[in-house]
Amino acid sequence: MKHALYYKSQKIATNTLVHILLITVSITCLYPLLWMIVSSLKTQDMIFKDISLIPHQFHFENYILAWKEGGFGRNFFNSIVYTLSVVCGIVIISSMAAYAFSRLKFAGSKFLFIMFMAAMMIPIPGSFVALYVLLNKLHLRNTPIGYILCMINVGLSTSIFLLKTFFDKMPKELEDAARIDGCSKIGIWRHVALPLAKPVLAVVVVFNALSVWNEYILALIIFDSRQFMPLQVALQTFQGEFVTNYPLLMAGLTITALPIIIVYLLMQKYIVKGVTQGAVVG
C-alpha cells in the first residue's frame, strides 16, 4: 500500500515538474507572439504607456495601414513566388544530389560531399559582396532569378545533408525490387526514394520556406528596385534609425507570420515524423 502511494506521489511530482517546465517554455514561446498581436492593435503612445495585454481600444485599422503603407501587396506576391521557387528548386536538386551521394559510386563523391558540408560553415553575410559581383557579371543582379538561384544555393547544403542521412538508412532491397521491375535510376529516385523520404522532405520544405520567407538582407543587396523586394523588406519601412512605428510594424509582422504558421500547421504531422525518424541528425 505504502509502495503504491509512494510511486503515485512520485509520478504526480514528476508530472507536475514536467508540466511546469513545459508551461514555462510554452509561455516564453507564446508571449512574444501575444505581445506582437496586442501591440498591433494599440497606438504608438499606448504601447509605451499601457503595458496591459488587453488594449482599452482596438485599432484594427493598423492592419490596413500597414498593408497600404508598407506596399505589402506586391511584396507579398514576391515572397510567395520566391519561397515556392526556392523550395521547389531545393527539393528537386537536393534530393537528386543526396540520392546520388548516397547510392552512386563515382570518383570524388566524398570530396564533393565534404565540400557541400563545408559550405554550411560559411556565414551568408560573408559572401554578400562576392555574390553581388558574381551576379553583376552574369547580368543577374536586380533580377528575381538571380535572387532565387542564390537562395537555392544557400539552402542546398543542409538539405543534402538531411536527405543523404535518410537515404543512407533506406533498405537497398526496395531499390533492388524496383530495378527487377524495370525501374531506371531516375525512376527509383522518383518512385521509391522520394515517397519514402516524405517526412524528411517536409522538414526540408519547412526549414527552407522559413529561411526564404524571413530573408531580406540579400534581397536588399541584390535588388535595386522596390518592385522585386520580398515582404520582409517592406517591414523594414516601419523601422527607422531612431523611430520605430511599432503598431504598424507589429501588424505587419502578424500578417507576415500567418503564411508560415499555416505552412507549419499543414506539415506538422510530417515534421514530427521526420524528427522522430531521425531526419534531423547532428
Binding site: 509605451f48 504607456k49 521557387s85 553575410p125 536588399l220 543587396i221 528596385s225 523594414q236 519601412t237 531612431f242
Partner: protein, 432 residues
C-alpha cells in the same frame, strides 16, 4: 504526371523571372539611394514637386535598416553600380576610401559658384563633416565631397513638469555643474529618476566625456592628448572623470544607467519618469511618437568650468554624395541644390522633426528643434578634428567611466589604465 508538371512549372517560372527587366524611361532620371525610413515620405513628396517643376524624374529608393544599406553601398561600389546620389554611413575613413576609389564627385566648384552662395547657406559645422582640409590625414585632395541634408546635436533635455515638481523654475534648467549636482538631492528625496541615457551603448558616455573635456581643458589640449602629447593621467583628465563620480554621488544619475540602452532611456523620459536625458536631436521625433503631450526643453550640459566654452557633439546628420561616374552628375547636383534650399529644408524639418542643414530655415521650425539647432554654435565632432583616437583607448575610457559610476574604480585608477592602453597602442603604431 504531377511531377512532370511541377518540373515544367518551375522551368516556366524561372524563365519568366529571368526575363524581368527594368523599363527604360525617356525622361532624365536621377536615382538616389538612402536609408532614412522616417524621411522617405517627405523625400517622395519633394521628388514629385521637383519633377513637376523641372521635368526631371527623381527616384528615391529606400534601403533599411542602415546596416544592410551600408553593405549594399559597399557591394555596389565594388560592382560600380552606385546610383547618381547616395549616402555613406560610417566613419570619415570610409568616406575617404570611397573618394580615393573615385566614386565621389568633388562638389567644391558648385559650392563656391556665385560667391559661395550654396556653401554659405549651410551651418559651417554641418559642411565640415563633408569637407577635407589641406594636409588631412586621409591623403584626400582638399575639397567638399558631400551635401548635408540635415544636422544633429547631442545635448541634454529636461522635463519641465518634473522640474516644477522639484520646486525649480521649469524654464530655467541648471547652467553649471554645481546647480545640476544640487538637484540630485531633491531628485532622490522626491523618489524620481535623474539623468537617463543610453550609456549601455558606450559611445554616448564617450560623447559626454568629450563635452566635459573640451569644457575643462579646451580643444587644443584634448587634441594634444589624442596626438599623445598629453597623458590621460593629466590633472584635467582626472577632473573630467571626476565629473561622473560627482554626478553619481549627488544622486542626479538614474539607477541602472551604465547598462541602459538608449531606447529604454527614451521610453523612461517620454513616460515622465526621469527629469533629465542626454540624447541627440532625433529624440524630438521619438518623444513625439511615445508621448505627444510631453513638455520638455533642450539645454547644453551644465558647465563644469568657466575656462572654456561648453562643447557638444554635432554636425551633419545625414549627407548625400554625387556619384563621380554618373551620367547625370549635373542633374544630380542641381537637385541637391534645390533640396537644400530654404523652403525644402523647412519642409523637411517640419515633416520629419530633423534639424535643417540650411541655417536660413530656422525661423520656420518648432521651438524645441530650434533649441537643439542653436546648439550648433557649440558643436564639434571627432570627424572634424583631423586626428582620431585609437578605438581601444576610447573603449578603455568609456568602460572606465562606467566603472567609476558603479563605484568600482576611482578617476585616478581609470586615468592610469587608459594611459597604459594609449601607450601600448602608440608603441604598436611606432613599430609598424
Amino acid at each position: 504526371m504531377r511531377f512532370k508538371s511541377l518540373f515544367l512549372g518551375v522551368f516556366v517560372l524561372f524563365s519568366i523571372l529571368g526575363c524581368s527587366e527594368n523599363k527604360i524611361d525617356s525622361k532624365p532620371t536621377v536615382n538616389i539611394w538612402h536609408w532614412m525610413t522616417d524621411r522617405d515620405p517627405a523625400f517622395q513628396e519633394l521628388a514629385k514637386k521637383y519633377e513637376s517643376l523641372y521635368g526631371v524624374k527623381i527616384n528615391f529608393e529606400l534601403y533599411a535598416p542602415s546596416d544592410a544599406y551600408s553593405q549594399k553601398i559597399r557591394a555596389a561600389a565594388q560592382g560600380t553600380n552606385l546610383p547618381d546620389i547616395f549616402g555613406i554611413l560610417g566613419e570619415k575613413r570610409d568616406f575617404a576610401s570611397f573618394i580615393k576609389a573615385g566614386h565621389i564627385l568633388d562638389i567644391t566648384s558648385y559650392m563656391e559658384a556665385n560667391n559661395n552662395k550654396w556653401k554659405n547657406s549651410f551651418f559651417p559645422k554641418a559642411l565640415a563633416v563633408n569637407e577635407f582640409s589641406k594636409g588631412n590625414s586621409y591623403g584626400i585632395e582638399p575639397g567638399i565631397f558631400g551635401v548635408p541634408i540635415d544636422i544633429m546635436t547631442i545635448q541634454m533635455v529636461y522635463n519641465k513638469k518634473l522640474l516644477g515638481q522639484l520646486g525649480l523654475n521649469p524654464n530655467r534648467p541648471p547652467k553649471t555643474l554645481q546647480d545640476f549636482l544640487d538637484i540630485g538631492g531633491k531628485i532622490r528625496d522626491a523618489g524620481m529618476q535623474g539623468l537617463v541615457s543610453g550609456w549601455g551603448e558606450v559611445w554616448m558616455v564617450d560623447c559626454l566625456a568629450n563635452d566635459y573635456a573640451f569644457n575643462i581643458m579646451g580643444k587644443d589640449k584634448v587634441l594634444a592628448t589624442i596626438r599623445g602629447e598629453v597623458p590621460y593621467t593629466d590633472e584635467d583628465w582626472i577632473k573630467v572623470l571626476s565629473v561622473f563620480k560627482q554626478m553619481q554621488e549627488s544622486g542626479v544619475l538614474a539607477q541602472g544607467l551604465v547598462t541602459m540602452i538608449n531606447k529604454s532611456a527614451e521610453q523612461i523620459f517620454a513616460n515622465e519618469k526621469a527629469v533629465f536625458a542626454f540624447n541627440g536631436s532625433w529624440c524630438v521625433n521619438v518623444y513625439k511618437g511615445m508621448n505627444p503631450d510631453l513638455e520638455y526643453g533642450a539645454m547644453l550640459p551644465p558647465e563644469a568650468s568657466g575656462r572654456y566654452p561648453m562643447s557638444i557633439w554635432g554636425g551633419a546628420g545625414s549627407s548625400f554624395m554625387v556619384n563621380a561616374r554618373s551620367k547625370n552628375k549635373e542633374e544630380a547636383v542641381k537637385f541637391l541644390v534645390w533640396l537644400t534650399d530654404q523652403d525644402q529644408q523647412a519642409y523637411l524639418a517640419q515633416t520629419t522633426n530633423n534639424l535643417p542643414a540650411n541655417k536660413n530655415s530656422l525661423s520656420k521650425i518648432p521651438e524645441v528643434l530650434a533649441q537643439f539647432a542653436r546648439g550648433m554654435d557649440y558643436a564639434t565632432h571627432p570627424n572634424v578634428w583631423g586626428v582620431s583616437e585609437f578605438s581601444l583607448v576610447i573603449e578603455a575610457l568609456d568602460r572606465g567611466i562606467q566603472s567609476i559610476i558603479i563605484g568600482e574604480k576611482t578617476p585616478e585608477q581609470v586615468a592610469g589604465e587608459v594611459q597604459k592602453v594609449k601607450e601600448r597602442e602608440m608603441a604598436k603604431r611606432r613599430a609598424k
